[in-house]
Amino acid sequence: AQSVTQLDSHVSVSEGTPVLLRCNYSSSYSPSLFWYVQHPNKGLQLLLKYTSAATLVKGINGFEAEFKKSETSFHLTKPSAHMSDAAEYFCVVSDQRGYQKVTFGTGTKLQVIP
């Protein structure tokens, strides 16, 4: 069984300040982990993915995430928020036996204040 918990439904930051979106997961197998972003009225876009190669993963638009097995966490960070980062962010876990077994988190809405 696998699950993913996004600890915050809403996060609000000022433009230019750091972003932290928290994600904890549970998986019976070695998981693949992903972060997706959804802008209003758009589909989901892949930000980054972890597949056991390196624990610190760099993604698009300056985002990165660190896989911490001991804490079962995969938090998403960005050093400096931009107005265009305002969106919904989804943490996703998939066990590596087959990609079809995918579980989405409930999403974190990021608000960026000018």
């Binding site: 693949s32 009225n41 758009k42 989901l44 892949l46 087959g98 995918v102 989405f104 809405k109």
Partner: protein
């Protein structure tokens, strides 16, 4: 040159009607999916097809019937629409291998049943 395209973007219809949503991908992927996103942004998988074969069929009313005429297309037909069917429906595709291949999403179809 859109990767995953679905039509229509908006669909407003009355209860009891039958409607279809079409999806096409030009990424050469062998697996396609339908997801339902409710008003709270929660994403739930409905169906998955690999090479035109149904491989995931979650607990979805049998009023929903997917059809995959070929690897590049996965359509969703809904009979006897109900108010609770109102949601945003996303088509997605991926490669079966490697196992950690990310999902590529369409921009969604917003279905409103009145």
């Amino acid at each position: 040159d859109t990767a995953v395209s679905q039509t229509p973007k908006y669909l407003v219809t009355q209860m009891g009607n039958d409607k279809s949503i079409k999806c096409e991908q030009n990424l050469g992927h062998d697996t396609m999916y339908w997801y339902k996103q409710d008003s709270k942004k929660f994403l739930k998988i409905m169906f998955s097809y690999n090479n035109k074969e149904l491989i995931i069929n979650e607990t979805v009313p049998n009023r929903f019937s997917p059809k995959s005429p070929d690897k590049a297309h996965l359509n969703l037909h809904i009979n006897s629409l109900e108010l609770g069917d109102s949601a945003v429906y996303f088509c997605a595709s991926s490669s079966r291998q490697p196992d950690n291949s990310p999902l590529h999403f369409g921009n969604g179809t917003r279905l409103t049943v009145t």
